[in-house]
Structure formats: structure tokens, C-alpha cells
């Protein structure tokens, strides 16, 4: 995998400014990612999309995930259908019924997601957009971040990708930035950790 060039860079300043050096964060997007398409999935007119798209390789990753989900049942049914001639029709029919929407899912979902999924980290908050049919925009302030983890699933590893998981005290779930270059992910996690230590944690 091609590691991105940026070296360690101090976070701009602890002063609350909504936009940090945008160049600094976008430069880190890595060479593997194509220039992000403009407004990903058009958020509600009032909410602007987060600044950075996910890596272009994420399309491959999501395709892989979709295949892992769709392929095994279809292949098993196909195989059984070929091996058991008397039941062929009743095995190949469900295989077809599964395969057609599965194929559409495998082809469409990754591309839609790639247009929608975006992320941004300012000095004060983490902001992400995700989803493909149901869209979600999430904001968590730096002062409420509890832990910052990186994850690399098996398929993500194949594509040299990783994710950053930012948890807050809420039981509603962590904020995830998935499908970014793994070197970038490590760097983001490091900076987020440093940044959350710099920002005093709010009570509660």
C-alpha cells in the first residue's frame, strides 16, 4: 500500500476555530483516493457535507462485504441445484431470487455509499455523513469524546483501509469513519487522542 506523505503535524491551535487548516486534513487523504465528488448525497439544505470523502478503495471494500453476504447462499444453492437434478428447479429458483437483488446491492450500494460517506474533524468536533438509503449525519464535540480506536477488518486490510471509531458516553453508538487509508486512520486516531487530551472534558 502507498503510505501518504504527511509527517506529524501539530493540530492547528487550541483556539476554537470551526475550520482547522483544511489543507492539512485533506492533504492526508492519501494518493489512493480519487478527488471526492462534490456534495455527497446532498444533505438537508441547511447541513453542509463534511469536508473529506472516504478513500476510493472503499468501493472495493464495500463490494467485498456485499459479496461475503450475498455469495455464499447463492453459491450453495447453485451447487446443490447442479448436484441434485430432481430438485433442480426448487434450488435454482431461490438462487435466482437471491442473486438478482444481491447483484444490484453489490453493484449499487458501494457506489452510493462512496458518494455519501464523508468525514471532517475540526478543532472542536468530529462530523461524519454515512448511509446509502437512510442517511445520517453525526456530530460529537471534542470535549465529550471518551475513546478513539482504529479498526481494520479482514476485508478492509486487503484494501489497505482502516476505520476510526470515536466513542462518547452515549449508549447510542460510536461515530465511525470507515474506509480511509490505514496510515491516515492511525494518524487521525493519534491526533484525535492528543486533541481530546488537550480539550478539558466536560462534566457529565
Amino acid at each position: 500500500m502507498t503510505p501518504p506523505e504527511p509527517g506529524p503535524r501539530p493540530i492547528s491551535s487550541p483556539v476554537s476555530s470551526p475550520a482547522p487548516g483544511p489543507a492539512s486534513w485533506s492533504a492526508a487523504s492519501g494518493p489512493g483516493s480519487p478527488p471526492g465528488p462534490p456534495a455527497g448525497g446532498e444533505p438537508p439544505s441547511g447541513l453542509r457535507p463534511p469536508r473529506h470523502p472516504v478513500d476510493g478503495r472503499a468501493i472495493g471494500w464495500w463490494t467485498g462485504q456485499a459479496l461475503v453476504l450475498v455469495a455464499p447462499p447463492v453459491l450453495v444453492l447453485l451447487l446443490l441445484g447442479l448436484l441434485i437434478p430432481p430438485a433442480r428447479f426448487w434450488l435454482l429458483l431461490p438462487a435466482l431470487v437471491l442473486a438478482v437483488p444481491g447483484l444490484v446491492y453489490t453493484l449499487v450500494m458501494p457506489r452510493v455509499r462512496h458518494r455519501v460517506h464523508r468525514w471532517e474533524i475540526t478543532d472542536d468536533a468530529v462530523y461524519t455523513a454515512s448511509g446509502w438509503i437512510w442517511h445520517k449525519w453525526r456530530v460529537a464535540p471534542m470535549s465529550r469524546i471518551q475513546t478513539v480506536d482504529t479498526v481494520r477488518g479482514p476485508i478492509q486490510q486487503i484494501f489497505g483501509l482502516a476505520g476510526v471509531i470515536v466513542t462518547t458516553a452515549s449508549a447510542a453508538g460510536a461515530i465511525k469513519i470507515n474506509g480511509i487509508d490505514r496510515v491516515l486512520a492511525a494518524e487521525l486516531a493519534e491526533r484525535l487522542t492528543a486533541r481530546t487530551q488537550a480539550v478539558p472534558e466536560d462534566a457529565a
Binding site: P44, G46, L47, W134, H135, V139, A171, A172, A203
Partner: protein, 581 residues
């Protein structure tokens, strides 16, 4: 074990240990508690404490805080035997007599039951023999187990709650279960000490929370007339059906065919001979009467003696229960808001329930602030509780209520919220006037209401066309449902609302169960904006405030984009603004 040892185990409360440290020679004198005696058992405690300190080393350096280890109450032995041998005895005695009449399956089932009861009894004895606990100046320590040894130690300044519970059997033996909570959600239930005497349990609470026993100001108390709301419980039907389910499960477990049971066969022959309408009416009546009386009993059992009080050291205390008594303490600073829930039947009857939105509870736990009661009472309690919990409205002085020990118990005081004065003493936030949602939200609900009648019509119509014995006019059931569905849609729309009331964000939604949530704005730790394809066409979003308390996030459903974002900004200034264009 001698009788004297028992007495020492029961009487030696942790409090005594702090007041006067054991000096390791067995001569420690307990001046505070007359119950504790100086005897053989005493020396054993001191030795136990000594050895634990040598091995554990957690207390190295605080010489003055050595406390004696306390055992569980010896009545736990009798309790354990009663609980396991009691039910097992009849089974064991019937086994030899019924040997010839039993099938293999039944014999195996009974054998397994006996083995399980025996295992429970042994586990209980081991637990009694191995469990020790003590309260030192700095921490609560607990150890238990023979094979799997557990040691737990909780710093005293982390103790957020001390809850007592006693089910009927424990109450009979004078025992209680103490749950010491630290307010951390990843900590499971906290430190559970099961099987201390009730007196010792109360002393533990007084010592750990520095609280004298009687409650100070009563916020709410159960009134007998409220029992009528039990009849509006949504559980009635389930309760009514449960006995039948259990009955057939038992028959199944013992391999008995229902048709072979004499009176069932007789019943069945009578049923088939009677008019189906009469049978249906009787069945419904039976299920309903079981369900309703079950709901009444459940209400009485759960809420008997219900009292919500405000304690002097900034905590709420909830006591309730007829057979199983429960006592829960909720610190005011853990309370981030309230949720007023009105399931449809209860709402029709003019009632409501009230739950706390609080941190430090498990996933499925919730602290009920008021059982089903008149709606006005629920609003009044909501207002009283929130006014008390609003930081600036609460009394600031707290030094006098601290425990006498020098344990540091820092109570982080939250920064005062702007516009606090609006709330204290005035109407509850749950009564605040709320902004209505756009007409598009009504349209979504009407469209949703059209689906079920259409599906019902199509399915029933299809059935009628396919099967000759289904009446051909059955498809009319769908259209008949339509008015009710539309009324529910209208109700759902009218229930939608959001607004700000001083330091609280208020949102309301739902029709089968209407919820009105008041959430303290300073407790909001993020926003989630969600949008489905249908919402996108309608120009709506669902705005969710994430918080550490309760369910994790509370939604403002189907609000227009501009209004929702403006509302988020107004609720928590500066959080969402950088991302709005």
C-alpha cells in the same frame, strides 16, 4: 460454627470497623454496636483482615483504616436450604412411590431438577462460607468464591448508590441484597452483596452514603385510588394468557398428551357441543378476568408503599414493593431529565407514568419515578424532580451531610445553566407548549395509516377468492379499519412536538405509547441527523440528541430541515453551527 460466631458475623457491621480499628490481637472493642460481641469469632475476623492486608497490599499505607471483615448473615444458610430443599423435597419423596408410573422422560426431568436444586444448595453454602466484605476509610472491599475467587474493591468516593432489595423469602429470613453502584455503565450491576441482615444492609447504606434513615421530603406517595390505572395496563392480555401457556409447557415437559388428561377431554367435548360465539365470549371473559386481576396484583406487589423522597444530600430515594421490597437511590446529578410515558389505554384513562432519564443505569434498567397515576400528578412530580435536580436551584451547601469519615467525596458541581430561574417553582417542562411539526409530517402518517387496511383487504380478499369457506365479504374488514387508522395517524401527528423550557429540551412523539421527554440541555453530547428517502422528498429530518443518560439518544421526529437545525443550534449553541451552510 457456634452460635456466638453467628452473632458476631451478624452484628459486626462494617461501620464498627471504621470507628475502631482491629489491632490484630483480637482485643478490639466495639463501642458503637452493642450487638457485636467479643468472642472467638471476633479474633477470626481480625486475623482475616490482617492476612488480607498482607497478601493484597491494597491498604498498605493507611494504617488507621483497617476494618474487620464482615461475613454474610448466618440466616443465609437457612434461606439457602429453604430455597433449594423446599421445592425439592416433594419431588424427592414422590420419586420412590411413583417409580413404576413414570416414563423415562419424566424420570430424567425430575432427576435433573433434583440435581439442580442440590447444586444450588451447595453453591449457597459455599457462598456463605467464603464471602467477606468490609468498608475501610477509603474503599469497599468484597471477596467471595472457592474455585473462582473474586475480589472486588470500590473506592468509596465512587459509590453513587446503595440500593436494597429483599424478595419474600429473603424478607422471611430477615435478609436483604445490597447493590453498591458506582454509576459507571460498563460496570454491570455494581458490587452486589447478597445475604446480609436487613439491619446490616441499612447500616451499610447509612455509612456509605452518610444518610440518616428517615426520608426528608416526600415528593410523591402511592394513593390507593391509583390502582384503577392497573386495569389499563398493556400487559393484561399477556398475563391472562400466561397460565395456559405454562400449563401446556408443563404437560409437554412431562411428556403428557393433553388429550389424555381427563378433565381436558371432557372440557373439549363440551366446547365442541356449544355455540362458537358463546365459547369465544367465555374464553375472552376468562382470559380478561385473569389478566385484569393479574395486573391488579402486579400493581399492588410492585408499587405498594411507593414513596419518592428527596434526601438531604442531593439524592432521590424510591422505595416500593409489597412482597419484594425495593429501595433505590438516585443522585440528583445523575438525573438528566425525565420521560413521561402514556401508553394508549393509560392515556385514554387520563393516566401517565414517569421514568428518570439518568446515567449509570444498565441497558435495560430504568428508575421509575412514578407508577401509573393521574396525568396531572405525573406532571407535578416531573416538575418537582427536575426543579430539585437543576443544579443552581438545588442548595449548594453540602458539607454537613458528609459522612464523618475523612473519605474524600468530591461532588462535582455542574456549571449553572443560563436561564435557570425560569424553571424552579414553575410548571413542569413536560407541560411546556411545544411547536407543532410541518404538515408534511401529517402526510407521512396518513400514508402510513393507509397501508395496513389495504394489506388486510388484499389478503382477506385473496383468501376469500381462493378458499370457498372464507366469507366473500371479508375484504370489507380492511376499509372498516380505515377510520381508526386515520384517527391514529392524526393523533400521532398532533402528538409530535418540540420546544425548549429553560435548561431543558422537550420532545414528544408516539401514539401507541406517547412519550414526552425533558432532557437537560447541558447533557447533550452530540447530534445525529437522520433522513430516510421519504423524509428527503418531504423535506423532513429526524433530529436526535445523544446523551450519556437513559436510552442514549432522544429524537425530535419529522421536523423540517431548517427548523430542526435551528432548534439544535438553539438547544446547544455552537455545536452544529459550523456544519450548517
Amino acid at each position: 460454627m457456634s452460635r456466638d460466631e453467628y452473632a458476631a458475623g451478624a452484628g459486626t457491621t462494617a461501620a464498627a470497623g471504621v470507628a475502631e480499628a482491629a489491632d490484630g490481637t483480637g482485643n478490639a472493642r466495639n463501642t458503637e454496636h452493642a450487638v457485636a460481641a467479643e468472642n472467638a469469632g471476633h479474633a477470626e475476623h481480625a486475623v482475616a483482615a490482617e492476612s488480607a492486608e498482607n497478601s493484597g497490599g491494597t491498604d498498605a499505607g493507611d494504617e488507621g483504616s483497617r476494618a474487620r471483615w464482615s461475613r454474610l448473615d448466618p440466616r443465609l444458610l437457612r434461606f439457602t436450604l429453604a430455597r433449594s430443599l423446599g421445592p425439592a423435597a416433594p419431588v424427592a419423596t414422590t420419586l420412590p412411590f411413583a417409580r413404576d408410573g413414570l416414563g423415562l422422560q419424566a424420570a430424567v426431568t425430575l432427576g435433573v431438577i433434583l440435581v439442580v436444586f442440590a447444586a444450588i444448595a451447595v453453591a449457597g453454602l459455599v457462598r456463605y462460607a467464603t464471602t467477606r466484605y468490609r468498608v475501610t476509610a477509603e474503599r469497599v472491599e468484597f471477596r467471595s468464591g472457592l474455585v473462582f475467587r473474586r475480589r472486588r474493591s470500590v473506592p468509596r468516593d465512587r459509590v453513587r448508590s446503595v440500593d436494597l432489595e429483599a424478595d419474600p423469602l429473603r424478607r422471611f429470613f430477615g435478609l436483604a441484597t445490597v447493590t453498591i453502584g458506582t454509576g459507571r455503565t460498563d460496570d454491570g450491576k455494581g458490587l452486589v452483596i447478597d445475604g446480609v441482615s436487613r439491619a446490616a444492609a441499612r447500616l451499610l447504606r447509612v455509612e456509605l452514603l452518610g444518610r440518616t434513615d428517615p426520608a426528608d421530603s416526600v415528593i410523591a406517595e402511592l394513593r390507593p385510588a391509583w390502582i384503577r390505572y392497573a386495569l389499563l395496563s398493556s400487559w393484561s392480555l399477556l398475563i391472562g394468557l400466561a397460565p395456559f401457556g405454562v400449563f401446556f409447557r408443563v404437560l409437554d415437559a412431562f411428556g403428557v398428551d393433553p388429550a389424555e388428561v381427563g378433565f381436558l377431554g371432557y372440557l373439549w367435548s363440551r366446547v365442541t357441543a356449544t355455540d362458537p360465539f358463546v365459547v369465544t365470549a367465555v374464553a375472552v371473559a376468562i382470559v380478561l378476568s385473569i389478566g385484569l386481576s393479574g395486573a391488579l396484583l402486579l400493581y399492588v406487589e410492585s408499587w405498594w408503599n411507593f414513596r419518592l423522597t428527596r434526601e438531604p444530600d442531593r439524592a432521590f430515594s424510591i422505595r416500593r414493593g409489597l412482597l419484594t421490597t425495593r429501595s433505590v437511590t438516585l443522585e440528583e446529578r445523575r438525573l438528566y431529565g425525565v420521560e413521561l410515558a402514556e401508553p394508549l389505554p393509560l392515556r385514554w384513562g387520563g393516566g401517565a407514568r414517569l421514568k428518570a432519564v439518568a446515567t449509570g443505569l444498565g441497558e435495560d434498567e430504568s428508575v421509575v419515578l412514578l407508577p401509573p397515576a393521574p396525568r396531572a400528578e405525573a406532571h407535578r412530580v416531573a416538575g418537582a424532580v427536575l426543579a430539585a435536580a437543576t443544579p443552581a436551584a438545588a442548595p449548594v451547601e453540602k458539607a454537613s451531610t458528609e459522612p464523618p469519615v475523612e473519605a474524600p467525596a468530591p461532588t462535582p458541581v455542574e456549571p449553572p445553566v443560563e436561564a435557570v430561574g425560569e424553571v424552579s417553582g414553575k410548571a413542569s417542562p413536560t407541560l411546556a407548549p411545544l411547536a407543532a411539526h410541518p404538515r408534511a409530517a401529517l402526510r407521512r402518517r396518513v400514508v402510513r395509516a393507509l397501508w395496513p387496511p389495504m394489506v388486510v383487504s388484499a389478503v382477506l380478499g385473496g383468501l376469500a377468492a381462493w378458499l370457498s369457506w372464507v366469507p366473500g365479504l371479508l375484504w370489507l374488514a380492511g376499509p372498516a379499519l380505515l377510520p381508526a387508522a386515520l384517527l391514529l395517524a392524526l393523533d400521532a401527528y398532533r402528538n409530535l412536538g418540540h420546544g425548549l423550557h429553560g435548561p431543558y429540551l422537550v420532545t414528544r412523539y408516539g401514539t401507541a405509547r406517547r412519550r414526552t421527554v425533558a432532557l437537560r440541555r447541558t447533557s447533550i453530547i452530540g447530534w445525529t441527523v437522520g433522513r430516510s428517502p421519504f423524509q428527503r422528498r418531504a423535506g423532513l429530518i429526524t433530529l436526535a440528541a445523544t446523551t450519556a443518560a437513559g436510552g442514549g439518544s432522544y429524537e425530535v421526529v419529522d421536523v423540517s430541515v431548517a427548523e430542526g437545525l435551528a432548534f439544535a443550534e438553539e438547544s446547544v449553541p455552537g455545536l452544529l453551527a459550523p456544519f450548517v451552510r
